[in-house]
Structure formats: C-alpha cells, structure tokens
C-alpha cells in the first residue's frame, strides 16, 4: 500500500547549516508515528520541510505518492497536511473563536463546515467553549495547546503533525493531551508526533523514529523502542 506520507532522502539547510542530512521516513494511513530525539536533532526542521516552511535542497516529500516539493505552504494545507508548530503559536490577540475560524480558512467556501468544526472542537475541549470570546493570549498553556490542536483539526487534515504538544505542561495536562491525540487518531486522522517526552509518546504511537544530528538512527515498532533499555538510555534520555 502506498503510504500516506513518504519522505525520501531529504536535505534541508538554514544558510550553511545542514539541519537534515538525508532523512527517509514514511507514515501509513491510520498510524500514530513518533519522531523522537534530543534537542537540535532536526525534528522540527523535518516537519517544517513537510509543511513547506523550509524548502529542501534535494529529496522528495510525497503525499499518497504525489510530490509536494516546491508547493506553497497553503497548498500543502489544502492537500491535507496540517502542522501544529512548536510553541503552539496561537493568535494571542484574536479570540478563541477567531483562532478556530482561521484554522478553517481552507474551508471558507463552505460556511457550514467552519461552524461544524467549531462545534466539534468545543465537544473535544469544553473548556474552549467557555472561553470562546476570550483572547487566545489569556488562556493557560494547556488550553493554548488544546486550541492549537483544534485550530489544526479545523482544516480536516488527513495527516496531523504535532511538534512537542506536551512542552512546558504539567504532567496531568500531558496525560489529557495524549489521550486526546489517541482519540483524534481513533476518529480517523493519521498523526506524526514529535516529542521530547519519549515515554509518553511511545505509549501512544504505533511506530517510532529516533533522530540524531540530522540523521534517522533508528526505526522500529513503538513497543520495541519502549522496552529496549539501551535505546531508551542512549537516545531518549529517559
């Protein structure tokens, strides 16, 4: 079966710094795939390259076997890939509702779809409904992360890419976010998840990749990665 997402020997640069030195990975439809690795390994750059924020110098990104390299970011969103970036980056000066509406920008021709999406988001996180007319910036860190995820779901992505959704959150909130990610996946969205918190991510994921300084150094089933002590110690620092 053609994977939903395939990445073939991607090289990406920031100026002269080579952040990705030939990355290969794939994500099958319906999977949760974890992308792990220490700080600076190139995880975020991988997502940025997929979403078109960073242009690779060589290699290919394929969605259902169709190349996306060179597409503008908004076209990649229209094709069905959403990237919820590191640090959440919700619009602090817009209301929760406006944040969600903008998440549905690609559905703007179907007014009803935006309303439906907002209702689904509120069903997923009732706390967002209570705060719907509040400015995004007044939300707590956990609520902002929930908003960022919901804003991403508004576009009805085939593939949802989450960059460190647990960053800076209290353990109890992390559990809540992880449960929601599992639920989103159950409802049919494929997920590519970046995490520093390897343990939490591997509990959730079907497969995992481990990155180190611009390379992928390991790929395996999540339970294999999780139970192999030497791997956990060497790469996942947990």
């Amino acid at each position: 079966m053609t994977p939903l997402l395939t990445i073939n020997s991607i090289h990406s640069f920031y100026g002269k710094i080579e952040a990705l030195k030939g990355i290969d990975l794939h994500v099958q439809e319906g999977e949760i795939v974890a992308l792990l690795g220490s700080n600076g390994a190139g995880k975020s750059t991988t997502l940025k390259t997929i979403s078109g924020i960073v242009r690779p110098t060589s290699g290919d990104v394929l969605l259902h076997g169709k190349s996306l390299v060179g597409w503008a970011p908004h076209q990649i969103v229209e094709a069905g890939i959403i990237h919820v970036p590191e640090g959440r980056r919700i619009f602090a000066g817009l209301t929760v509702r406006e944040n969600l509406e903008l998440g549905g920008f690609t559905l703007r021709k179907e007014k009803a779809a935006i309303g439906e999406g907002i209702e689904q988001a509120f069903a997923l996180f009732p706390r967002l409904k209570e705060r719907s007319e509040q400015m995004g910036g007044t939300l707590s860190g956990g609520e902002q992360q929930m908003l960022a995820i919901c804003r991403g779901l508004m576009a009805r992505p085939k593939l949802l890419m989450l960059d460190e959704p647990s960053m800076g959150l209290a353990p109890i909130i992390v559990v809540e976010i992880m449960n929601i990610i599992r639920e989103i996946n159950r409802q049919g969205t494929t997920i590519l998840l970046i995490e520093q918190n390897a343990k939490a991510a591997l509990k959730l994921a079907h497969r995992g990749y481990v990155m180190e300084t611009g390379h992928i150094v390991m790929e395996n089933k999540a339970d294999v990665l999780r139970t192999d002590d030497s791997i956990v110690k060497a790469y996942l620092g947990a």
Binding site: P73, H74, V77, R89, G93, F105, T106
Partner: protein, 257 residues
Amino acid sequence: MDILVQTLADGLVIGAFYSLIALGYTMVFGIIKLLNFAHGDLYMLGAFVGYTLLSVLGKDSSGAGLMGILIVLLLAMVIVGVIGMGIERVAYRPLLLAPRLSILITAIGVSLFLENGSMIIWGAQYQVYPLQFSHDGISLLGAKITYVQIGLVLISALLMLSLHLFINRSLYGKAMRAIALDQTACHLMGIHVHKVIGLTFFIGASLAAGAGTMAGAYYGTVNFMMGFIIGLKAFTAAVLGGLVAFRARCWAGCCSG
C-alpha cells in the same frame, strides 16, 4: 462661537480625509511593518484619476448628477486600488525577507516614481477640478455648513464603517489581523498570505484614492505634490492614534484636521 463651530465643521471634513489615508497607512504597516512612504502619493493619484474621469464625463459634469460623481469616486478607488496591489507585487514583495531598510528605501523610490510619473502625465501646474460644488447649505449656530461637506463626511464615515466591519467580521479581515500577529502561523493555517497582503494594499490604496478624489473636488485644484504633505500628516495621525487601535485612528484623523 460661530468661528469655533465653523472651524470644527471644516476640520471635520479635512479630518475625514486624513482618517481615510491614515487607515490604509496603518493597515499596511500592521501587516508587513512597512512605513509606506508612497501612500500619500496614492491619494494624489486618486485625485488625478478622478480628475481625468470627470473630464471624460464632460465639462459640465456638475450636470452628471450625484450618481455620476459617486461612480467616478468608486472607479477611481478601484483603479488606484489595483495600482496599489501592483506596487506591492512588483516593488515590495521581492523584498519582504530583505532587511527593513531596503524596503523603506524602495518605498521612497516608489513615491518619487509616482510623483514624477504624475507630473509627466498631468503636468506640473495646478489643475482645476472639472466640478464645481454648490455652496448651498444650512446655518448652524451662525456657522455655514454646506450639503457637500455633510455628504463628504458621510461618505467617509460609511467607508470607515465598512472597513471596520470587514476587518472585524469577515474571514479575510481576521486573516489580516492574524498575519500582523504571526505570519508563519498563518502559512500553516492554509492562509494564502501573499493574497491577503495584496488585498490589504488594495484596500489601503483605494481608501487613499477615495480621499484624494473627494479632496480634489472639495478644494477644486489638484497638483502632483499634493500627496507629499498629506503623507506626512497621515503619518502623524497614525502615530497619534497608535499604530494599532482602529477607533483611535479615526479620532486622531479628525483632530489633526
């Protein structure tokens, strides 16, 4: 008392023009952090395009009626709006990622280009607007307020209100505010950022052009340098009103009038 009221009334008309100009100026600043020095020249261009359109309508265009004048106003706004979009496309977009200074210098270049281009097309001397407004009006506390003044302020207020609703209620208006906050996040939402920036230039330019056409008709003469001073004043109104708050901008515009 009558002098005070008269000054207020006259100031309100001019202030309405300034507000329209300052609004576009701050919209552009908000979205790409560019002090668009060419903005005042779009006002001048609006005045000249209106002048040419009215001349085409014929010397006795005061007979064209209110409808004709409104159509000329709209046409001038659309034409200059498209020019504003073109300026963004050709002059600014290639420099969006360059250092701020280079885009600022480009804006000065665009300003000079528009001024000299207009001088070549329409001449260096003052042109008399082919439209004479009637001086009929009402008396209020000893001051004379013409119907034309009332009409101009109403049109300006209507434009400002439409813009206010557009920015606050429409998805594209929300996208404009979002781009001002975080452009990368907007890319990731699937927002066609360049298109929205283009739209912002269109609106900003057409508001300036609307002010230009109205001012041309109100003062009766137009000149290729008329945008220069007004650009500076719009800058002042924009700074007074803060570069963010919308309502404040309208009031600041009226005060500087």
